[in-house]
């Protein structure tokens, strides 16, 4: 029951924060555009006035791209190195923006104020950055343990049957996927707590995140699972719409841009719902604890 209450409160709070989400969307859009604009220009000049782009009308054509030769190599290295830079920039930006979002989905926040959003972002920046960094490293470490080690063992084994090898790998991936909600809960509890307890250190926040996640494990896990499933549902919807949609006119492509960005905005709203629900759940469980005391 507490879970649904937290989800409900979180949902209304995330809707209330739609303007904050709009800021996040805009900043991320600009960030990605700064990276993609030169790519778009380079790709355009690589194909020039060639009509080979007709082959792209029905989808990706490997020959059209492969025939770009060394230009393709340049474009690919731009994409890969660009994505790394984008990830690092996005990591830092996200630490800032999530600070603003956690503040706006908190209990006290009622009216939208961009000043307050950015102030909260800057106030929580370093703590959120450290929390994100530590939990990302933990996630990387766990993926190594749960996925790479079983895969390496199986690849050197001559006795494990193929079916069993797949079962082992899928089980390992499943265990890893089952751990992800816990990491997310720790991250969200730590950040929600830090937003309220401004003067405490990020490591205390992290400690609180772990203790809170495991103290209310069942309800917290169900809550996070539900939120993740909602995001997966949106992901499936996006996968059904975007890849197969192949407009060939300028206006059609513009519509694609609008729809894809709208979907991305929804995706950010769902993420905000996650932040808000975990914050609300934290408030509920803390209130109950106080009542018990």
């Amino acid at each position: 029951m507490r879970v649904f209450s937290s989800l409900k409160t979180g949902f209304s709070r995330s809707l209330r924060s739609w303007k904050d989400v709009l800021i996040v969307w805009f900043i991320l859009f600009i960030l990605v555009s700064v990276f993609m604009y030169p790519f778009r220009t380079s790709l355009g000049s690589a194909f020039g006035t060639s009509m080979i782009t007709e082959k792209l009308a029905t989808g990706f054509d490997i020959e059209a791209f492969a025939d770009l030769g060394s230009t393709l190599k340049t474009l690919l290295s731009f994409l890969t190195s660009g994505f790394m830079i984008l990830y690092l920039t996005g990591f830092i930006t996200n630490a800032f923006l999530s600070g603003g979002l956690f503040n706006s989905v908190g209990k006290e926040s009622i009216k939208f104020s961009s000043r307050e959003f950015f102030m909260a972002g800057s106030k929580n920046f370093w703590s959120f950055l450290v929390i994100s960094l530590i939990l990302t490293l933990i996630m990387g470490f766990l993926s190594g343990i749960f996925i790479l080690i079983p895969v390496s063992i199986i690849s050197f084994s001559e006795t494990v049957s193929e079916k069993n090898a797949y079962i082992i790998v899928f089980s390992a991936v499943a265990v890893f996927l089952a751990i992800i909600p816990v990491i997310l809960l720790v991250a969200d509890y730590a950040r929600a707590w830090k937003t309220v307890n401004e003067n405490d250190s990020c490591f205390r926040a992290l400690g609180f995140g772990f203790s809170q996640a495991f103290r209310n494990f069942k309800s917290s896990y169900i809550l996070m699972l539900f939120l993740i499933l909602a995001q997966i549902a949106l992901g499936i919807m996006i996968m059904l719409i975007l890849p197969g949609w192949k407009p060939v006119t300028g206006s059609g492509v513009f519509l694609l841009l609008i729809i894809s960005q709208l979907m991305f905005y929804f995706r950010l709203l769902l993420k905000t719902w996650r932040y808000a629900s975990v914050t609300s759940h934290l408030e509920n469980t803390s209130a109950r604890k106080n009542e018990n005391l």
Partner: protein, 655 residues
């Protein structure tokens, strides 16, 4: 004397048996060689040992003083063999890792011990450590028409890391495992100017050139093993923990077999051919895909090249522990490659099955020399593989068919060639081991398939099929060479097209097969100039517009084309005008620059060289066209999708 007579009688019995008909109604080949082998698989020692009786008939007019045989398992004897030197690797550190064949005794029909007359030779590279070819001096030279009979006791140790052949745990794939005759080539056969043995060492990239033979192979092995081979199972007896199986194969160039307790056996039929599939029990979900693919290949090659002449076909999908045996061909036995979880949009298992089956034709029936002309084997087969895959699985997605990525098999053949930096280092007409590093596959498989597609684009699909039908008719169960193929192509093209392509097609083969040039045609530019045509008197001064000029739209338009590569091929050119009219031009493609000029009331809007992408050797399709009104919608759509994808990825991986 009595013993000797009995021995000769016995050998005559062997020859008679091997020449007799058990599977096919009539012999398909000359049967210059034949083998009767009786061996035991020792699953503890990992050896196959026993006796072999074999014959070679001197069909030439030469008197031949020796015989030469492959002992290809010796390629796995050490890291100093030619095979491992070419690979730059090692067979392994332990004795159990190595593979070898040891001839314990060898005698002729008169009971002479031939061991003292036996020497290991290295005709290709002089490598003293390579013992993959043995020469045996005959006590009495073989005169024309003579039959040389040899009786050999041998032991073959299988290597532990399966590379085409070997064992892994209790899995066995036994290929290149017995002493096998080379091919005696009299003067005039293929490229031979004088009679001699063509018996190459075992190389990293080639291993097939043999006469079509008859095999009677008896194998004893533990009763729990399930076997498959290139022959037909004639009989099976069980004696305690061992079973003995007799296989017979007729008119094939090599005999391989496999044994594993874990095999699941499936059977199907295509026309009169019984098809057997041996696969891992984990891959039962792939069986339907495999049978469908092999039947597609049978149907297509039967229709467009020639009939599949055997009544049996066995193929193996090795389990992951025997993956090293995957993707190999032994005529009526071949190996595929798949996996328990193979996405339905990814036609890799089908592609391997179609390709390896195709070798039953290109190497099996048309027994070319893989060592000396790998293109005639792998390249021609790759061309047919791509045609079969794209025909049955989708013209644009015969390799991968996913909404996000579609790849045709023809594209998968072309790209490794056109994108290779080494595409001009060597021509197709090269011995397999002479290809510079990492160019073998690109040249022998992909370049050949690409120029064959180009040839088909020029002469048409039906003429191409007719070339292969004629090639089959003339050379089935013989040893064709590249020049024989070219000769057939010239004959068929001339018969069907007269002088349309010149007196022969040598101009094509000289550039593509024997040349190292590249093909690249390019649209240099489109020029539309408005005609300033005077009507009557025209006056002008420096301050006013010229009076009396007609401003009607009369244009002088031209397209400039350029041949930037060395290869000269006839190409189609399609010119599109602003009023919707299209003019189809034909350019012989010889000049370095070419211009087409037009005068009319419209401008040229776009131009395409080779609009149907027939010239697949063209290394850059992107410069084959030009438009005055570029459409960027597709590119923008792609960029938008990549942007959205990156945004979603970032939002997922960032906490």
């Amino acid at each position: 004397m009595e013993r000797k007579s009995a021995f000769i009688l016995g050998l005559f019995f062997i020859i008679n048996t091997l020449h007799g008909q058990i599977i096919n109604k009539v012999p398909l080949s000359e049967r210059i060689t034949g083998y009767k082998i009786n061996v035991k698989l020792d699953t503890e020692a990992k050896t196959v040992s026993g006796k072999m009786e074999a014959f070679w008939v001197n069909k030439s007019n030469d008197t031949v003083s020796d015989i030469r045989m492959h002992l290809y398992m010796n390629a796995f004897r050490s890291n100093r063999t030619t095979y491992y030197e070419e690979l730059g690797e090692s067979p392994g550190e332990n004795e159990s890792d190595l593979g070898w064949t040891e001839i314990k005794s060898i005698g002729d029909k008169n009971g002479h011990d031939l061991i003292p007359r036996m020497t290991y030779i290295s005709p290709d590279d002089g490598n003293k450590s390579d013992k993959t070819v043995v020469r045996v001096l005959l006590p009495k030279p073989a005169k024309p028409g003579d039959t040389v009979l040899v009786k050999i006791d041998f032991e073959t140790k299988l290597p532990s890391r399966i590379r085409r052949t070997g064992y892994s745990g209790d899995y066995y794939f036994v290929a290149q495992w017995f002493p096998k005759f080379g091919v005696y080539e009299p003067a005039g056969m293929r490229y031979a100017t004088s009679g001699g043995w063509n018996c190459h060492q075992f190389h990293a990239t080639s291993e097939f050139y043999s006469d079509h033979s008859v095999y009677d192979v008896t194998v004893s092995l533990p009763v729990n093993y399930i076997t498959g081979s290139g022959g037909v199972l004639i009989s099976e007896t069980v004696d305690g923990s061992l079973k003995t199986q007799l296989f017979r194969a007729e008119d094939i160039v090599d005999f391989a077999w496999t044994a594993w307790p874990g095999y699941a056996v499936f059977k199907d039929k295509w026309k009169n051919t019984d098809i057997t599939l041996l696969t891992s029990k984990d891959r039962i979900n792939q069986v339907e895909r495999q049978f469908t693919a092999v039947k597609y290949a049978l149907e297509y090659l039967d229709q467009n090249v020639g009939p599949y002449p055997w009544t049996h076909l066995t193929f193996v999908d090795p389990p992951s522990i025997g993956a090293g045996a995957g993707g190999m061909e032994y005529t009526t036995l071949f190996t595929s490659e798949s996996s328990f979880l193979m996405p339905s949009f990814f036609y890799m298992p089908e592609m391997v099955t179609v390709h390896e089956f195709g070798h039953a034709y290109f190497m099996g029936i048309l027994a070319s020399n893989e060592f000396e002309e790998p293109w005639l084997d792998e390249g021609v087969n790759s061309f047919w593989e791509a045609r079969i895959m794209d025909h049955f699985y989708g013209n644009s997605y015969g390799r991968v068919n996913h909404p996000l990525l579609r790849i045709s098999d023809a594209a998968a053949m072309r790209l490794p060639y056109v994108r290779s930096q080494a595409r001009q280092e060597v021509s197709n007409a090269e011995y397999s081991w002479n290809y510079p590093k990492e160019t073998y596959s690109m040249m022998s498989y992909f370049k050949t398939a690409t120029w064959l597609y180009t040839m088909m684009g020029i002469i048409g699909e039906e003429t191409t099929n007719d070339i292969f039908r004629e090639y089959y008719r003339k050379w089935a169960f013989k040893h064709p060479s590249g020049k024989d193929f070219v000769s057939v192509a010239n004959e068929v093209v001339r018969r069907e097209h007269g002088e349309q392509f010149g007196p022969d097609m040598n101009w094509f083969f000289d550039q593509t097969l024997y040349g190292t040039g590249i093909c690249d045609y390019k649209v240099e530019g489109i020029y539309n100039h408005k005609y300033l045509k005077t009507q009557g008197k025209a006056e002008s001064d420096e301050t006013t517009e010229p009076a009396g000029y007609n401003t009607d739209s009369l244009y002088f338009s031209s397209v400039g084309l350029e041949r930037t590569g060395e290869i000269m091929l006839p190409v189609d050119v399609l010119v599109h005008f602003t009023d919707g009219e299209e003019v189809h031009e034909r350019w012989n493609g010889k000049a370095r620059y070419k211009e087409f000029n037009y005068t009319g009331n419209r401008e040229i809007e776009w131009v395409k060289i080779d609009p149907e992408f027939k010239i697949r050797m063209d290394v850059n399709y992107n410069n084959n066209s030009m438009t005055m009104t570029p459409q960027k919608a597709s590119l923008n759509r792609l960029v938008n999708k990549i942007s959205a994808f990156i945004q979603f990825c970032l939002s997922i991986i960032l906490l």
